[in-house]
């Protein structure tokens, strides 16, 4: 049980680290800005889930695959695919429904912390 937990952490570390290393490779060898890297990793997550690959990565690595932004794409695609089994309405709304927590958290916490904190980036 203990070894299983440690092994799970190692898998999350390795896969999460590997995904971030791919991003760093893109930063080093191409001139892609960080915003476009986020968008392309999100789209990669959606496409990989749509063809049925990302689910295996999530089952293998847990948070190592769901914490990177590609996991957000995975969640969107997964919701849409599950909704498609039910009805057209669920197929259209399913993606945003399953990603609702992430979007809501980003908006609420984002606005809240922007209100109470001052920008420090100019000081350095």
């Amino acid at each position: 049980m203990v070894w299983e937990t440690i092994f799970m952490f190692l898998k999350a570390f390795a896969v999460g680290g590997a995904i971030c290393t791919i991003a760093q490779l893109l930063i080093n060898y191409t001139k892609i800005t960080s915003g476009k890297i986020l968008v392309s990793f999100l789209l990669a997550g959606i496409v990989l889930q749509a063809i049925g690959v990302y689910q295996y990565i999530v089952d293998f690595a847990g948070a190592g695959a769901t914490v990177p932004i590609s996991g957000f794409g995975y969640l969107l695609a997964k919701g849409a695919m599950e909704g498609a089994k039910e009805s057209l309405f669920m197929a259209i709304t399913g993606g945003l429904t399953s990603a609702a927590m992430g979007v809501t958290a980003a908006i609420v916490f984002g606005y809240f912390f922007a209100l109470i904190c001052k920008s420090r980036s100019k000081k350095n």
Partner: protein, 153 residues
């Protein structure tokens, strides 16, 4: 004489190119791997805590983990810590969902002087906006394609 000078110059520049940035690039890759791995391990720890204490599972568990990670990302950005992590880690701090939160809070704080509506509320989507637009649009596309697929086959 001039050609040999050019040659030396080129050789020298090639030498600089081959020696100088490589070590830096390797280091940045290692740092991205390290920090990205650590952030995902923190996510795994939160997952474990929620799983054992609150008995959550599946999508609900994943949603709460991402909520806490976004909270941490927004909080550390507010404190000014996340930008320092970003300088060290590069891609390792951008790609995790904490980097998504950072991309929301950072411009929102920056444009606070322009007011709370057109400053904070609209500028917080400078980077997060495209992510939500492309994410939702392509999830609808996937949903409709799968819906058609399920009806035909």
């Amino acid at each position: 004489m001039k050609t040999s000078e050019n040659c030396i110059n080129r050789n020298y520049l090639n030498y600089v190119k081959s020696v100088c940035p490589k070590t830096k690039e390797k280091r940045s890759l290692f740092r991205a791997f390290l920090v990205g791995g650590i952030i995902c391990s923190i996510g795994q720890a939160i997952r474990l805590i929620f799983e054992s204490l609150l008995g959550l599972a599946g999508d609900e568990l994943a949603a709460y983990v991402s909520m806490v990670m976004i909270f941490l990302g927004a909080f550390l950005t507010g404190l000014g810590v996340y930008d320092r992590i970003g300088k060290f880690a590069g891609g390792g701090s951008i790609v995790p969902i904490t980097g998504f939160a950072n991309s929301v809070v950072s411009p929102a704080m920056e444009f606070k002087t322009e007011g709370y509506v057109y400053g904070v509320a609209s500028k917080m989507f400078i980077i997060a906006g495209p992510i939500i637009v492309f994410g939702v649009a392509s999830s609808v596309l996937v949903g409709i394609l799968y819906f058609i697929g399920y009806r035909i086959f």
